[in-house]
């Protein structure tokens, strides 16, 4: 509960800091201090110290798992801000507003991870989405950005409509918004329930960019300013994933037989489309957009399996995937050339940056000793625990082998090709240090995943 209220307050604080503070570095410092406070509040909550006690009538319940997840998310946001906050200056003039929007998104994230009512889920998703529409179009002079924002807004509203329809149908079937299954709530009309469930499934699949609801993703990720693409593709995506799984775990467990087939198809199609299309990209940014679809395919295994292993896998995925992707996007945001050729010979001019990028790419590809491997490992383990899933798992690893193709293209460009005419940008030493921290984190969790997973149970 601490984080929910503090993040909303911090959003307002950031808006005023834009008026009061003239220096951009001061605004940045306030934002980083803010996220530190948020992180601290979340940890306090984990220790059982709650600053606010509000009766939400069981509509919001911060259980242990949600609190751990929130803490991890805030830590990732901290890393993201430390690494990428200076790059936001290049986007436009409203520096403080960007941070305000990010804090509002985090407020939505706190709702999406803790809802026990469909209304709260809807609120959370919308509080996340609307600032995202703005961030996507925040570079006002960029036509591609404008197009992306409009596309995102139109398609996003459409999926919101689907979601509301689904919620309405579910209310019709159960006469309650609560996601908890209790003897007091007996579904009256099963066909209404199924229809609502499928609509919710589609709406959530849209938000996590699972195929065949992924069509907005490449254009939006490509058009949005790179710093915000990074935020969207990592933090927002895993938060919505968490909500997705929480919803189906709480509410639709008895109907598992009905929705598992849908999820199987969505998983397989997502893995296929994400990986195969990524192979053909020429721009690293677009490749990462498709890669994020492909990784969503793997995250869907957590939903598919709906087991302890799957949740542990999602937790690891959150850190592994976010840390690696944030690192790559941060470097990409400073590159002048977004094509694969733009990375040619980076290892010669920037050996340190190239080495950390290699760690991130290996992690995304799922090579052992990186966190990405352990995350995929847990997902495969969870899926194998479900009877009759062998073919899906084999399909997934074949797709993982395909993914090596596009991740390694960057490595090949950096190490084995001669540099082109345009010189590579210089990277400040603090930035390099942060990259090292991220790479260290990726390797640490690859060797000792228990550091994170151990926190889940006590």
């Amino acid at each position: 509960m601490n984080a929910l209220i503090i993040s909303a307050v911090l959003g307002v604080v950031m808006m005023f800091s834009g008026i009061l503070l003239k220096q951009k570095s001061a605004i940045r410092t306030v934002a980083i201090a803010g996220i530190l406070v948020l992180l601290g509040m979340s940890i306090l909550d984990l220790k059982g110290i709650q600053l606010f006690s509000i009766d939400t009538r069981e509509m919001i319940v911060f259980d242990h798992f949600a609190l751990v997840f929130n803490t991890v998310i805030f830590a990732v946001v901290l890393l993201y801000l430390l690494l990428s906050a200076p790059d936001m200056e290049k986007v436009g003039v409203n520096y403080a507003e960007y941070f305000a929007l990010i804090f509002f998104i985090l407020c939505g994230a706190a709702l999406v991870t803790s809802f026990k009512s469909l209304l709260i889920l809807f609120l959370g998703i919308e509080i996340i989405s609307i600032p995202l529409y703005i961030l996507t179009g925040s570079d006002k002079r960029n036509l591609k950005g404008n197009e992306a924002a409009l596309k995102y807004f139109l398609l996003g509203s459409f999926s919101t409509g689907l979601m509301l329809m689904g919620i309405a149908l579910l209310y019709g079937a159960r006469a309650s918004f609560s996601t908890v299954i209790s003897p007091a709530i007996i579904p009256q009309n099963m066909s209404l329930l199924y229809a609502g469930m499928i609509l919710l499934l589609f709406a959530m699949a849209f938000k996590v960019s699972a195929a065949p609801f992924h069509f907005w993703t490449p254009d939006v990720y490509d058009g949005a300013p790179t710093v915000f693409t990074s935020f969207m593709a990592t933090i927002v995506k895993v938060v919505v994933f968490f909500g997705f799984i929480r919803l189906f775990d709480d509410m639709f467990e008895p109907q598992q037989g009905q929705w598992r087939l849908w999820v199987t198809v969505i998983t397989a199609v997502t893995l296929f489309i994400g990986n195969i299309t990524a192979v053909f990209q020429q721009s690293v940014k677009r490749m990462l957009a498709y890669s994020s679809i492909a990784q969503a395919g793997f995250m869907l295994f957590a939903l598919y399996a709906m087991s302890g292993d799957g949740k542990e896998g999602l937790m690891l995925y959150t850190v592994a995937y976010s840390a690696a992707t944030i690192g790559i996007f941060a470097v990409l945001a400073r590159m002048s050339d977004y094509t694969f050729d733009g990375f040619n010979g980076l290892a010669k001019s920037q050996p340190m940056v190239a080495a950390t990028l290699t760690v991130f790419l290996l992690s995304l590809a799922g090579i052992p000793l990186t966190a990405g491997f352990m995350a995929k490992f847990y997902m495969l383990k969870a899926a194998l625990g479900t009877p009759g899933s062998l073919w899906l798992v084999i399909f997934a690893v074949i797709m993982a082998a395909v993914s090596v193709y596009y991740y390694f293209r960057v490595i090949q460009a950096m190490y084995f090709k001669e540099p082109g005419d345009t010189p590579h940008p210089a990277f400040p030493s603090f930035f390099k240090g942060m990259l090292l921290v991220l790479a260290f984190l990726v390797i640490l969790l690859g060797v000792y995943p228990e550091l994170l997973l151990g926190r889940l149970y006590f």
Partner: protein, 490 residues
């Protein structure tokens, strides 16, 4: 402790090597590091071969049911010794080659050694899988950065092939782990499993494909000749001499004893693949003009024969494979050293452009002839003992088609003699070609490396017992695990 040191020394020295600035220092450092590993390996073989020294267990990922468990058994001794000897030989034999960024080159080489040692020693499936990949990554970078013209595409193919195979193996490992009563990745837990035959039949292929790609067996071999040709010679030596043994070790330790029924059932299929590989690779080798490619294809034939002998499932064949694991590695490194010397001195590896080397370099010729004869298993060379045992094993296999397999595999030996002797005739005898560089005889380091290899060849050719005793009890124990003949005795 010995087991742990065998991984720790190359790992630590490999990482340290990245910090060295001087090119010459890096080379000397790597050589000393490899000697240290060799010394430890020899200690484990002789003075400190007590159980406690050869085992190492530390907690690691215990919540998953995994642990950092290493153990040197009979086969482990042979393979660790091979890995430990291969590195000094490689460094010594290629001392003149000076790669750019030597510190990174030697660092990656040593890291690959750590990975391979891990594969040979791991007694835990997850650790095995980790090391399996760790050995691959440095090799990928080595071959892609310091290799020939087409290196990027070729080594990438190699990487994707192996990676896909290993992922399939991961599924297999995960499935087996879920079947163990206490959800453990330990090797002993896997050995205790009694998987129903119907499940063994498909599980077999998840593992087999991974190992077959690594060895490589027909039809998974297509990456191999290109990679051997394009990789820098020192890397090729390690790839062909040591790394291919990872596939065979996988079969011996992780596949056949765990899934004995399937191994028996699919034995004929594997034999057919192996025999096709022997004949096909030998025929292609005859047509090769490039020395590197010729040796690459010859290696496919040899490895295929070893796979066939394994699936003969008897003691003689197994012992033959054990000794051949070592012999093949040493012999092929010897061949590469000479190819490297020829290429550097004469500027070409094409057989058609070479000739009459015997007049100009008699000492090299003697070395080469001895190693080449060992490669085709002439009596009194190390290859003979191994191949004799393997053919003996093939002939007493359970299969209905054992005679056909043995005859066809034997044909491979004749073909091997054809291409090897043909190569010697064309390259070392015949008319001398005009040279680009003035001829010099072998340098001291090359003489040392080749001399050592010849000593090993003759030693194991005359007295193979010394190696066979090492693996005797291992082979017997292994055979008792894979033996399914009780099913036929009623």
């Amino acid at each position: 402790m010995i087991a742990f040191l065998l991984i720790l020394i190359p790992l630590a020295t490999g990482l340290l090597s990245f910090l060295i600035r001087e090119e010459k220092t890096a080379k000397a450092f790597a050589f000393l590091a490899s000697l240290a590993t060799l010394a430890v390996s020899l200690l484990g073989l002789t003075l400190m071969n007590s159980e406690s020294n050869l085992q190492f267990i530390a907690p690691w990922m215990s919540s998953l049911g995994s642990s950092f468990a290493l153990k040197i058994d009979g086969m482990g001794q042979v393979l660790c010794l091979l890995t430990a000897i291969a590195y000094p030989l490689t460094f010594l034999g290629t001392w003149q080659a000076s790669p750019k960024n030597a510190n990174r080159f030697f660092g990656l080489m040593l890291l690959a050694q750590a990975g391979m040692m891990g594969v040979f020693l791991a007694n835990d499936a997850l650790l095995f899988y980790f090391c399996w990949e760790l050995a691959l990554i440095p090799m990928y970078f080595l071959a892609s950065q310091w290799g020939g013209e087409k290196r990027i595409a070729v080594t990438f193919k190699f990487f994707v092939y192996t990676f896909l195979g290993s992922l399939l193996m991961l599924i297999g490992i995960l499935y087996l782990q879920s079947q163990t009563p206490d959800h453990s990745f330990g090797l002993s837990a896997f050995y205790k499993l009694k998987i129903p035959a119907s499940e063994q039949l498909w599980l077999f292929w998840l593992f087999f494909v991974a190992f077959a790609i690594k060895m490589p067996l027909f039809p998974f071999h297509t990456w191999q000749p290109d990679t051997y040709e394009q990789a820098p010679t020192a890397t090729t030596m390690i790839l062909s001499g040591v790394m291919v043994k990872m596939g065979l070790l996988g079969l011996i330790r992780w596949l056949m004893p765990v899934l004995p029924l399937a191994s028996f059932q699919w034995g004929d299929v594997v034999m057919i693949l192996a025999v096709i590989g022997i004949i096909y690779a030998s025929l292609v080798a005859i047509r090769q003009d490039d020395l590197k490619r010729l040796i690459a294809y010859s290696s496919i034939a040899h490895i295929s024969l070893m796979a066939a002998a394994l699936f003969a499932e008897n003691l003689s064949g197994t012992q033959g494979v054990m000794i051949q694991l070592f012999n093949h590695g040493v012999n092929i490194i010897g061949l590469w050293i000479i190819v490297e010397i020829i290429e550097r001195r004469y500027g070409t590896r094409k057989i058609s452009e070479l000739g009459g080397l015997a007049q100009q370099a008699p000492v090299m010729t003697i070395f080469f002839v001895v190693i080449a004869l060992a490669n085709i298993a002439l009596p009194l060379t190390n290859g003979f003992a191994g191949e004799f045992l393997m053919f003996n094993g093939l002939l007493s296999a359970q299969s209905n088609f054992k005679v056909v397999f043995t005859v066809l595999a034997g044909l491979g030996i004749i073909l091997a003699a054809v291409y090897t002797l043909n190569m010697i005739r064309k390259t070392f005898y015949g008319e001398a070609v005009s040279l680009r560089v003035p001829v010099t005889e072998l340098k001291l380091n090359e003489q040392l490396a080749l001399g050592l290899i010849v000593v090993i060849i003759l030693w194991l050719g005359i007295y193979p017992q010394s190696m066979l005793e090492l693996t005797d009890s291992f082979s017997k124990e292994w055979f008792s695990k894979i033996d399914v003949s009780y099913l036929f005795r009623k």
